[in-house]
Amino acid sequence: MPDPQSSLPFERPEELTAALREQGATPNEAADLLPALGRLHEWPAPQPAFEDTRLLVARLAKELRAQSPVRQAIHEHSQDRVAILLAIARAQVSLFRPGFWLVSALITAIGAAVVLSKLDVDQALVLRASGPLLAFLGTLVAFRGRGVRALELELACLPSPLQLAVARLAIVLGYDVLLGLALSLAFWLGDTGQVLELTLSWLMPLLLVVGLAFLLSLRLSASAAASVAYASWLAILTLTATSGLQTLLLVPELLGLGCIGVVLLIIALLRLRTDLPRLLPQP
């Protein structure tokens, strides 16, 4: 930014020439124009004194919206939302018991072992049943559901209940996706073929069940929501297996189920924000 106090932005002849060339003047034209432009500094502008600026700021400050220090602090805290979310998630990790991490990994390992051992079973069916079991576990551990009456406590904290829920979801889904990557790596190393299809058979139903369970947890307790969601999925699996409609669970359909799960998650998060007054315990 040019110094407005004393100088012009193009003080030296070569700077003026470059500016004239930039606007399309030839070297001869630029040389011809230099003396006239060199005289522009002979008409200086007035400079505001420090006191002038201070008075101007005082007049303008009246126009600024009055904002409480608390609201300002919250705004400053919300500047870098991703960093804050990650910080909340990091703090929330300690709330997950070791059992959650171990049992989830064990379920995944059992699914992988069944597939890799090439037993005479429907491998995809095993994965479709075991993947959502992780969602069931995650919902039980991560979400308190309605009735625990922790909402008032959460509302008193700086992170909102929505931020807490998103942070916990990020932990659960992040860990599940990590296990899914390990699973697909195991399939790839085990030369099972159809690595993508098998991985999707595990991951997409998981997304569906976690979305459904999270949505239901707004109305039910966490254990009830997780049980209803997982039981519903098992019922669908049973129906498709017994009625010969397993073609409904091929890759495109599985991707569709995963998308439905994501949509349910988004709806649940939006509902969490709007339903807060209703979720508070009634006197």
Binding site: M1, P9, Q23, W43, A45
Partner: protein, 189 residues
Amino acid sequence: MQEKSDEELMAAVMSGDQRALPLLVGRYHALLLGYLYRLIGGDRPLAEDLVQETLLRVLQQRTYRSDRPFKPWVYTIATNLAKDHLKSAAVRYGSRTREEGDPLVNLSDNEASPEERALAAERSREVRAAVAGLGEEYRGVVVLRFYQGLKLQEIAETLQIPLGTVKSRLSVGVDRLRNVLSQSSRGVG
């Protein structure tokens, strides 16, 4: 600590941060005063009023987006206010002369003799008259370019005209300046 950009300061001001306002005004007070003073032909009190009005509009408009460059935006507001003023009936019928008062000169009292001061004032009047005589559309681009140091693209955004038009107006504007100032130089010399 890294200095905040104009856009960051403006976003802070819009969110009600009282600390950002003096920083933003400090950056733009002198710039806008110089711009408006030259755009309206050298009337300092009027230029000061227009600076305050420009910054008030900046604060009152709730439409600013931080992904939009601040400098061209604030210059656009200043330009439009100056245009409105120049179009007003009072100015059109010359109720307020813009030739009144001695122009500012670069020489300080300690350095200059009375003759030198008189000559500097005369030369300053010539430049002021030459810039004022450019016509509104040429004066704007010349002042933005050679007094305010805006880039060509920033001028295009400020005046909301194509880049090619900026270049052609600059070309005509500096050519007219040369014609006027070279004649007056011969006259003075």
